[in-house]
């Protein structure tokens, strides 16, 4: 705790780096996952190979995966972010496909029969109905990314992992504590924020709270 209080600006800077890595990862991961999920929903046969591949990627230890990527992207944050994007795909894509395919077919047929264009159908019907499931996936992905980003420090990416690795190397228990506590608090905060969003995005929320 002492280290935290004595070096607020250093910890603050590392926290900022950590948060940056996590949010960039999440944004890219979502941008990649949405089209993949749409393709799978459209062409069912893609589901098995794509989900299989993403599942296999998820089982590779994170350290190993980043090491694989260093020759391609260099010893920097990019390799770490690419690895985290790959990791979170399985979570995001699965949640999106499950959410999309659980929309009542009668609802989709009604929207078509009433004369909505595919675009209107997407924004008026599909997006609001998958949103809670999707945000739930994003929440888990964000927490996973927060955890993995800790390793980023080993690859020159900075972040709160810096405190942990420095602490281990120089045998400074207070640094290790500072790093662990901050990562834990960050993960909790992100989880709470997205949980709140998830509840808010629930389509009939107003009905239930009335």
């Amino acid at each position: 705790m002492g280290y935290l209080l004595n070096n607020p600006s250093e910890v603050g800077w590392l926290l900022w780096q950590h948060l940056q890595m996590t949010s960039i990862t999440l944004l890219i991961a979502i941008a990649v996952a949405v089209p993949i999920a749409l393709l799978i929903t459209r062409y069912r046969w893609l589901s098995v190979p794509v989900m299989g591949t993403l599942g296999v990627i998820y089982t590779i230890p994170s350290l190993a995966l980043i090491i694989f990527l260093v020759p391609v992207f260099g010893l920097n944050a990019t390799s770490v972010i690419v690895a985290m994007v790959l990791y979170t795909q399985v979570i995001l894509v699965r949640n999106l496909t499950v959410g999309l395919s659980s929309i009542d077919p009668a609802v989709l047929e009604a929207s078509r029969g009433m004369g909505m264009s595919p675009w209107q159908r997407w924004w008026w019907v599909q997006v609001p109905l998958v949103l809670p499931v999707f945000v739930a996936g994003a929440r888990i992905a964000a927490v996973v990314a927060t955890a993995i980003a800790t390793i980023g420090a080993k690859f020159n990416a900075g972040g709160l992992g810096q405190l942990l690795f420095d602490g281990i190397q120089t045998n400074r228990i207070d640094k290790i504590w500072a790093g662990s506590i901050t990562v834990a608090v960050l993960a909790f905060a992100i989880n709470a924020l997205l949980l709140w969003l998830e509840r808010r995005s629930h389509p009939t929320r107003k009905a239930q709270t009335k």
Binding site: G113, M116, A207
Partner: protein, 339 residues
Amino acid sequence: MHTGDHIPCSEFLNLSCNAMGSIQFDQVTLEFSGMSRPAVNQVSCEVASGELVVILGPSGCGKTTLLKMVNRLYEPTSGRIYIDGQDIKRLKPTKLRQKIGYVIQQSGLFPHMTVADNVAVVPKLLKWPNPRIQARVDELLQLVKLPPTEYRDRYPAQLSGGQQQRVGIARALAGDPAYMLMDEPFGAIDAITRTALQTEILRLQQQLQKTILFVSHDVDEALRLGDRILVMNAGQIVQFDTPFNLLTQPADPFVHELLGADDMVRQLGLLTVNSAMMALPDNYQNGSKPTVNAVDNLRDALSLILKTGAPELSVVDQDKPVGLLTLEHIRSYAAEANR
């Protein structure tokens, strides 16, 4: 393509060209890949403006398929469909669908929208100004007997099945379409609510005069609602006629059996009291006879006779006695109708 938008339908069909509000099928066939026979096979017929036609037939005979070709959810393999005398292939599907109300069995209400927002969808697609949309929503909820103050802001999950179907009907009527397609709208609803909703449809139809295609596989529903009934089997039209003619002159044993044409009580449901009653005798004293309305059907009259044990019923028209009805009148009239 040089002849303009309107192809005179009489060129294709031997039909009158009073086309506004009508639906015409010309040799319409749809083959799904991998099926041994077409789901809809060479269907030609015309539904007149303001007519309620029930499509009746056993499961899998192509009722839904025929219906969905009208709003182009399915495209026919061959043949043409005209609406207002216009080939629907020439219309943009979204524009066509906005002109046709569509009600399905599972209601298909949007679970994330309130009742009001559900009803407002088509007016929004048609880009009506907001005050007009809100007024329309209230008007329609009133029409389907769901007081707006109570139901406007509810979500579909907070409604009973019957209420959901009412919202589904209001939603389909919202853009004031001249046409309605209804695919077993009351299929999943208990018998009592179903009868109430059928009454509602008859009332609405009297008021609004839409051209309606109504799919059903319930014979009593078809007889009750249909101005005419389109009987289908294995993708083809077997007979297209009024309920009464179907019962009394079924085209073949299939229709005969499907409609239960032997069922005399069923036939009585289609005959009105005033056609069978006898005029009032001069020295008429009403006494305390049970009364029926002149426009009630003979089936109801019969059940009243059986229930009360009265030998005669007094027939009234707007509370004034106009005739008498006995069991013998009913029997002889039904026998005559059957010849």
